[in-house]
């Protein structure tokens, strides 16, 4: 009976219910969009801290000479400097060797396919490497020593552990295999599928290579052709060379010391600070140690984007909170105005309910329930709109992939939004409903209430 009463009365006051839905919905849209953006950004930053994907990139100290032709970068080979593939294993010998989650080498050149330029990238997909014996004792100025447990056995490197979200249709390439994986965008553009062979030409050399799979990565690799490192080294006549290494390392967020170390040269830190810094897994100290291990390499953190996002969010947070608060306030005013009108119009009905023996609390419950139900509906609508808004904003403002972006923690945002929406509706309903509870049935039934 309660359900029928509720639905019918809400339905009868369609325009009023709509108004409440709209005002609560608007507030809920802002709230859920804001929560979602805040969560997404924080989540993304946290993900990077957990090194989900590479957070360090190592390149040769001597920058290769790049020539840009038609939007693609061509590298003059004789001028380019390279890193040596056999040195890669040294990455697992640094002080913070246990924080190295994965790494992968890359060697890329623009090749021609049917007269069109496309980037061919050689890499390791999955490679078991045996960990070399690393230094165990690290001594510091003042004679203090730190011991690191040596990593033993083998280590699984390659893009599959570096970027575990990559997906392949077909199969991955085996070590040393002469085949290629097409980025999904390339496959679409070239209209080539798994199983066919395509001719790639590079500086007069022509190779007919079978397509073993098509990869989706959500990143720029979809516009590239991937191959085993050895294959590209042969094709480019660069045996044992790589031009980039991506490393995924577990790092602690920077604190004052880390920021100072990034600004001045670490060597200029006091011996004490230096030791503390060196023995804390800041991104900066890990890079420093990687550069020690690979003297030809120069390390860079790839985190600038998310830091900018974080700073932007921090600035925007107050604005967003204010907007949301105003929206909530306005929504509850709208609910209040609507409720006052509704209760005035329905005072005879309220009088009747009381004459039939309804207690104050029952009358109040009924109207508060009406308020909460429309609040809940408004919250649901607002949640849907808010998620769409969040996607849009994230895509525009934070340049995250558009509709494909998976918003995390939606199961937290939904109840939060609904709770707020219902609270707003109840807040707006509070005073009018109190009046309703006080109505005198005798007067209202006489039509003078």
């Amino acid at each position: 009976m309660l359900g029928r009463l509720l639905l019918k009365s809400l339905w009868r006051q369609k325009s009023r219910t709509l108004l409440v839905l709209l005002s609560v919905g608007t507030a809920a849209t802002l709230i859920s969009a804001f929560l979602s953006i805040a969560f997404t950004i924080t989540e993304r930053m946290a993900q990077e801290m957990r090194s989900f994907g590479a957070n360090i990139i190592l390149v040769p100290k001597a920058e290769p000479l790049e020539v840009e032709i038609a939007g693609l970068k061509y590298v003059a080979p004789e001028e380019a400097a390279y890193l040596d593939e056999p040195d890669l294993a040294k990455i697992k010998t640094i002080f913070w060797r246990h924080n190295i989650v994965s790494f992968a080498p890359f060697l890329s050149r623009v090749v021609q396919f049917q007269g069109r330029p496309v980037l061919l990238v050689g890499t390791w997909f999955e490679r078991e490497i045996s960990i070399p014996e690393g230094k165990r004792l690290f001594s510091f100025a003042g004679g203090s020593k730190r011991e690191v447990a040596t990593a033993k056995g083998t280590f699984r490197a390659g893009v599959r552990s570096l970027a575990p979200w990559w997906q392949v249709e077909g199969r991955w390439l085996r070590e040393g295999e002469e085949g290629i994986l097409l980025g999904s965008a390339v496959a679409r553009a070239l209209k080539v599928g798994v199983g066919s062979s395509i001719p790639l030409s590079y500086e007069g050399k022509l190779a007919l290579v079978p397509v073993k799979g098509i990869v989706r990565t959500g990143g720029s690799e979809e516009d590239q052709i991937l191959a085993d490192l050895e294959f590209t080294q042969k094709l480019f006549s660069l045996p044992g060379k790589v031009d980039k290494i991506q490393v995924s390392a577990l790092a602690t967020p920077d604190n004052a010391l880390a920021i100072r170390a990034n600004r001045i040269k670490p060597a200029k830190l006091s011996p004490q600070d230096y030791e503390t810094w060196y023995c804390t897994p800041y991104l900066g100290s890990i890079i420093y140690q990687l550069e020690e291990a690979l003297p030809n390499a120069k390390g860079k953190a790839i985190r600038q984007v998310s830091e900018a996002e974080g700073a932007f969010l921090a600035k925007m947070r107050l604005t967003l909170v204010l907007i949301a608060a105003v929206a909530l306030f306005v929504a509850s005013l709208a609910v209040m105005a609507t409720m006052v009108a509704a209760i005035f119009e329905r005072r005879q009905e309220i009088g009747l309910m009381k004459a039939l023996g309804a207690e104050r609390s029952q009358v109040g419950f009924l109207f508060l329930l009406e308020g909460s139900v429309s609040g809940l509906l408004g919250g649901l609508l607002g949640y849907g709109a808010g998620m769409a808004l969040a996607r849009f904003l994230l895509a525009r403002t934070f340049s995250m992939a558009g509709a494909g972006v998976a918003l995390p923690l939606e199961w937290v945002i939904l109840p939060c939004t609904l709770l707020l929406a219902v609270s707003v509706a109840l807040l707006g309903a509070f005073f009018p409903v109190r009046e309703a509870m006080r109505l005198d049935p005798v007067r209202t039934l006489r039509g003078i209430g």
Partner: protein, 235 residues
């Protein structure tokens, strides 16, 4: 017989100026059918509201079914209303967006539990079984009043209070509604209803008349046994 309703020197003042009821003393026995008559503004509705625990005396004694209504809290008065009385209004006061059946169920809902079978049965008693799904706006005045009666009966109250139940009805519908009241009376219900029509009032066991809030002495249309009671005895 112990009277079901007892009023002793009941006074009801509005704003200290208008005296709607002026020292009314009255006893009504269980099963009795009493018609309340009097000019407009003489206090008939006020009297009914007193007995329904909708209104409270400014002074005086008011006992219904052994309960002292003067001393009740608002919550207790609500409970008294849903348990002891069935109310019928001249303006029907049906909830416009609920069907006939749901209007009856509303009274059940506040009383205890809504039960659509029982509510349908009550509509059957007033001859509206096939109108259960209609909205009040889709019913004639007489049908609406019958829904109102079904609603008043649904919780099996001891007392049925009707304020000009036929006031808005034409002669034909009036007969139908009065027929229902006669059935209720025959079934032993205690009925108190307000009317302006002496013909309608004449069907009751007893007529009481108000004049400027005062009860006129010994007004009754019939000596001894009321006609309906007599009919029942014959049957």
């Amino acid at each position: 017989m112990v009277p079901l309703i007892v009023l002793k020197d009941v006074i009801r003042d509005y704003n200290g100026k208008v005296r709607a009821l002026d020292r009314v003393s009255l006893e009504i026995c269980p099963g009795e059918w009493v018609a309340v008559m009097g000019a407009s503004g003489s206090g008939k509705t006020t009297l009914l509201n007193m007995i329904a625990a909708l209104d409270q005396p400014s002074s005086g004694l008011l006992l219904v079914d052994g309960i002292d209504l003067v001393s009740l809290t608002e919550e207790d008065r609500a409970r008294f209303r849903r348990e002891k009385v069935g109310l019928i209004f001249q303006q029907f006061h049906l909830v416009p967006y609920l069907t006939a059946l749901e209007n009856v169920m509303l009274a059940q809902y506040f009383h205890s539990m809504a039960d659509s079978d029982e509510a349908a049965q009550a509509l059957g008693l007033v001859g509206l079984e096939d109108r259960a799904a209609h909205l009040p706006s889709e019913l004639s005045g007489g049908e609406q009043q019958r829904v109102c009666i079904a609603r008043a009966l649904i919780n099996e109250p001891k007392i049925i209070l009707a304020d000009e139940p036929t006031g808005n009805l034409d002669a034909k519908n009036e007969d139908v509604v009065m027929g229902i009241f006669q059935d209720l009376h025959r079934a032993g219900h205690t009925l108190l209803f307000v009317t302006h029509d002496p013909h309608i009032g004449g069907q009751a066991d007893r007529i009481i008349e108000l004049n400027h809030g005062r009860l006129l002495p010994a007004t009754s249309h019939a000596e001894g046994e009321p006609p309906v009671r007599a009919l029942r005895d014959i049957a």
